[in-house]
Amino acid sequence: MIKNIVNLGDAAIYCDFGEEVTKDVNSKVIKYFRTLKNKNLKGITNLAPSYNKLIITFDLNETTFIELKNNILNLKLDDETKNESSKISIPICCDKEYSLDIDRLEEKLNKSKSDIIKIFINKTYFCYMTGFVAGMPFLGDIDDKIQLNRLETPRVKVPKGSVGITEQFCNVYTFESPGGWNIIGNTPKSIFDSTHKKKPNLINPGDEITFYEISKKDYIKFYDK
């Protein structure tokens, strides 16, 4: 199932599941991720599953690339565990103040702001993975008509709550951070809460997400709550 395994630096392994990004490929990545998490192989320090890749970091004092690569190639996968996915609805405000890249989107996509937002809202998204910053969900797939590349130079600071789109994907910046996605709006809803020790992420891989538009007035009210 893994197409290719190479080293990423001297203390990580890069497992490539192929070029394609589909729910099917992603579920294979998740299967390896869950098996490795349960097996607790010697030396593994972190696992980063994504759409079609799995990156595994290890402690160079305990193992090496070659040893771990062999362990992964010989891995017996756990049987499918039931994944309980949630349906979550997220408010988004697309007021000029929050829709930082709307001019760029309008120009490059040759569409009006209201059309872009309508197309964006009118879909249910699947959560492929979480990460980049704590709790950030990577959702897909957005409509062909509003797909666009990342910014050429990433922003040094993207405001917390920003909802960004790039290619067939969409995400929510759970913290202020650098980033290069096209920002379409902002949500006042808390997506990551470190005080919830057991389940800090609101959105997890496999969940289904929809967005609904709110006014600036409602946005401010939501924060005041």
Binding site: N46, K53, A134, T174, S194
Partner: protein, 315 residues
Amino acid sequence: MISDYFKVIRGGLNSTFQDQGRENLYHIGIPFSGVMDKRNYLITNRLINNGKDEPVLEFAFQGPCLKYFGNKRNIVVTGEINFMLARNNSEKEKGECYKTIEINNGDVIDIISTNKSVYGYFSVSGGFKIDKVWNSYSTTARANVGPNNGCKLVNGQKILLNEKKPIFNRQLNFVNRKIEFIRVLKGTNFDYFSQNSINNFFSTDFEVTKLTDRMGMRLKGVKLNNLKKTNIKSEGLVKGTIQVPADGNPIILLSDHGTIGGYPKFGVIISADYDKLVQIPPGTKIKFKKIELKDAENLYKLYNMETNNILNKIL
């Protein structure tokens, strides 16, 4: 009984509690974090006679200014640091790094600046009274994860201390050596870049810019020309990754890095050179050298051996 404590008179620019980092949370977006310069961290704990996994205070550029309330203890500062002690009898002393220093009630430690370096470390005999979060004392300030509510030190707060242990006076004759080259392994998208750009990367200087912090280091130099694709499908990242956005300016990801990214991976800094890389201040020029995996693994063994030799000199 009230424990001994420091009052934070000035938090400094980026002062956080750190240990060797937090494992097993990449998949929800939480990086290792942990000390940037592991060798100086281990030296700090050894000098002050705390365990090798105990938390230290890490600071960058301008450190904290702390007033001590309690019974006699030792402190230690490591790195290349200018610091002063204002004694309770209003005498002033210039601080010496890599040497335990006795402090008494009312003494003030003012960590003024790092000298031609970025990070320094501070600890106290007995150690800081803080709690682990998700099995680590490390702070990821950007996600508010870690002790001290996941935040940097702020003016006016208190730092509580554990009960003190017997005091040892220790010192180490240590110089933070620079290296000529930062060594790099080929990344997974190395072949996206033109041969000319690859040659340039390994033969010309790059400047560390001011846009550098615990998350990443942005470099300025000859732009790297990507012939294939300037975006990849977002995927995991590791510290030391050199990623190149469409503008051609490389960014090296450091300990608080985002766990997922969509820029091509040109290379990865070898583990043995990480401590040295992070200490290079903005405005400095650096050179890179390409090596092979086997060499990187051997250099890591050597790095560990050197670290152990240094630690064994501290009695």
